[in-house]
Amino acid sequence: MGVINRFIEQAKTKAGSVVLPEGTDERIVQAARQIKDDGIADPILLGDEQEVAATAKQAGVPLKGIRVVDPKASDKLGVYTDIYAKTREMKPSIAARMVKRALFFGGMMVSQGDADTMVAGVAHATATVIQAGALTVGYAPGIETASSFFLMVIPDFQGQKDKPFIYADCAVNIAPDPAELADIALASHASGEKLLGEPARTAMLSFSTKASASHDDIDKVTAALAIIKERAGGLNIDGEFQADAAIISKVAAKKVKEPSEVAGQANVLIFPDLDAGNIAYKLTQYMANAQAIGPFLQGFARPISDLSRGASAQDVVATTAICIAMT
């Protein structure tokens, strides 16, 4: 069974719900139909009811059994406005303007338990989805940075078939400082625990292995590790490692002289910056013929995800399945 199908099957057992704020996009309506018909989740489309219906008609998709909610006319608008105004300490009239926006209404649905996850981004910039997530759902405890990860599936990794890895951050934080890098590692470790099907072992990557070299860039990684140890000392997050010492046990045996549960067997790889992360995922994708699934947002109190503007209906379905699997 392919990786995506595994998550689809996992999602079916959860009976979760997904809010899709871009209900006037044909791909979203098509995806909602499949999500409903395949029993992956209960989809909720946001938008003006007539406009969503017109979109569905255009796409040739019946909306039977799919909830459509117009944020501007919803009976939840008042409740969400009050909560938003109180949480963000702003005038209710301004809060109402925020919550009427589909992404924020969707985020409030997730934060208030009226939906389990939100999947958006075919008609919004990543930064806008992150804003909405941060201001409504909020960050996970101990995390103050939104980040992203790819699930990389390697067809043949050292004799293992379809080996999954988490790569982060490959899409959001350009030059994370130590605190941000620590947030990325902690969020990625949590994502790995939920998605890898085995315990996460998180490596903080560098061009140095356990002080084999000396440079400010290495100090950044070790400073992040110190923050992680202070915040969550019991987790299997270690470094700094070169990539080979992180994932190849023979290399780790030579280069890593202290006990480590991570060295040589890492399955979550944290890159020091976006240059490294983005280059690494693309090289892995094309040179190892790996499947690159994502990017997914992480660091929020509940899973929400961003879609690329070019996402297909199938991408929306797959992203939803993975978000539901992470709930």
């Binding site: 702003m90 301004i94 303007r97 919004h124 806008t128 992150i130 804003q131 941060a134």
Partner: protein, 77 residues
């Protein structure tokens, strides 16, 4: 100095909870006034309320200082 500029400064001070005297014509919301970068959309909602206009979310991402807010709002007035 335009009336729009004065109103933008007043709204920015209220939204970001800083003293009006701190908000200058060229103040940047994040760097100079301590806004969280994710707050730009809330500033935009506050401007919409003040000026009774609708601003699009994507354009709102470009509103990073008093000057760009004034330009953006005057386009919508």
């Amino acid at each position: 100095m335009s009336d729009t500029t004065e109103r933008v400064k007043k709204v920015a001070a209220e939204t970001l909870k800083v003293d009006l005297s701190m908000v200058k014509d060229d103040s940047r919301f994040v760097e100079d006034l301590g806004a969280e970068s994710i707050q730009s959309v809330e500033l935009v909602a506050a401007f919409e309320e003040e000026f009774d206009i609708e601003m699009d979310e994507q354009g709102a991402l470009g509103v990073k200082d008093v000057g760009s807010a004034v330009v953006f709002i005057e386009k919508h007035l």
